[in-house]
């Protein structure tokens, strides 16, 4: 194993740790905020970044190109579904708000 590989491994581990930190922050936000909109905010922002970092870290450690590409596809799908779901939740919150007053 060359020193480049070792370096990439360590770098990947660091990036993953950073990503996990974002996840923890997002989860904290989910638990601490009291309004659904705010919770959504915490989740989408922090978790998207967290997922990106974790995937990036894993790509750095990936044994081959195929695995790396698969990881990137996972990340893309994650992004799309997160955006879609949060959009839907936001819409339903909006329609609830219009209903209430």
């Amino acid at each position: 194993m060359s020193w480049v590989m070792v370096g990439l491994d360590w770098l990947g581990a660091g990036v993953i740790a950073l990503g996990v930190g974002f996840f923890v922050a997002g989860t904290l936000g989910l638990l601490r905020f009291d309004q659904s909109i705010n919770r959504l905010h915490a989740l989408t922002k922090a978790d998207t970044l967290g997922l990106g970092l974790v995937v990036f870290g894993l790509v750095l450690q990936a044994p081959g190109l195929a695995v790396g590409l698969k990881l990137i596809i996972v990340w893309t799908l994650g992004l799309v579904s997160a955006a879609l779901v949060s959009h839907l939740i936001g819409q339903s919150l909006c329609s609830q708000r219009q209903e209430e007053p």
Binding site: L77, H87, L88, Q91, S95
Partner: protein, 309 residues
């Protein structure tokens, strides 16, 4: 270490799920529990079961539960204040504890017993038409189990059709093109994943169940985005849907009868044709599972009307 943490988390969530008096919270916790249980099952080297549990046990069950919750009366889940306690509390706790202890000691006694059907499975794997042992067990060695389990699904759906009450609530329609566009883009991908899972099932974890679950969610997304996918107004579509419901059971049982005809026994295949028959059965089963599960979730929606399926 990881196992211990996971176990504790699962037990804590399960406890919370049955303890909480807020039904919504209980359901959300149940969904999270399903995900963690699936994770635990991958640790137990059971990727097939884990995939199915994550998709069906947590995903679709969660959708069913949440959709049904909106139609329940606001019944309090707490004990009515006037309800009398029977005074037998200690008795039931004692019984519960004794059963728990009995189970733990019983399971501990067989923890290292080395009995298994795996050698048998491996010895006959080459005659089964597939190379993935779980698929071989499901579709060949114990094929009638699987056929009758598809029947359970079909009969449960038959019952739900009978029990159907049209939704009374109105739900605000979603505005904008975001969902439609996204669904149009994602749908081909989901179908591709379903086909891939089905194909992969013959040699690696995957198969009709997992594929069916993906198809079910694809259909549900079609419906949510109000794209024309499940509308029964067109005659051809209606026939197709009905054929899809019945397809899994009927194809499976008919191929089973064909086995008698070919001398391979009821629910058996000649070894050289087994792979092809299994693929046919799995395709029909995946379509059936997908359609049935999607239909079950659809009729549980609060705004679902009979004509729209």
């Amino acid at each position: 270490m990881l196992d211990a943490i996971l176990t504790l988390l699962i037990l804590a969530l399960a406890w919370h799920c049955v303890r909480t008096t807020d039904l919504f919270e209980a359901i959300v916790v149940f969904i999270a529990l399903g995900m963690l249980v699936a994770l635990a099952w991958t640790r137990l080297q059971a990727p097939d079961a884990a995939l199915a549990e994550a998709a069906i046990g947590a995903g679709l069950a969660g959708a069913l539960l949440l959709a049904s919750l909106r139609q329940m009366p606001e019944m309090s889940a707490t004990r009515a204040p006037g309800a009398k306690t029977t005074g037998l509390g200690w008795f039931w706790w004692g019984l519960w504890g004794a059963l728990g202890l009995a189970l733990v000691s019983g399971v501990a006694a067989i923890q290292t017993t080395s009995v298994s059907l795996m050698p048998q499975v491996q010895a006959h794997l080459s005659d089964s038409g597939v190379t993935h042992p779980v698929t071989a067990v499901l579709l060949n060695f114990r094929a009638l189990d699987t056929a009758l389990e598809l029947a359970v699904l079909l009969w449960a759906w038959m019952a739900q059709k009978q029990l159907f009450v049209p939704g009374r609530q109105t739900v605000y329609p979603l505005q904008g093109q975001v969902l439609k566009t996204a669904v149009k883009a994602l749908l081909p991908l989901m179908v591709l994943v379903a086909v891939y899972l089905l194909w992969r099932g013959s040699s690696a974890p995957g198969g009709a169940f997992q594929s069916g679950a993906v198809l079910a969610s694809a259909w549900l997304m079609l419906w949510l985005a109000q794209l024309p996918g499940l509308s029964r107004k067109q005659g051809g579509m209606r026939l197709g849907i009905q054929a899809g419901w019945l397809g899994g059971v009927t194809v499976f049982l008919l191929v089973g009868l064909l086995g008698v005809f070919q001398g391979a026994g009821f629910m058996g295949y000649p070894p050289d044709q087994a792979g092809a028959w299994i693929l046919l059965i799995e395709s029909a089963a995946a379509l059936s599972i997908g359609l049935l599960l999607a239909s079950m979730v659809l009729v549980s929606m609060p705004d679902f009307q009979e004509g729209t399926l």
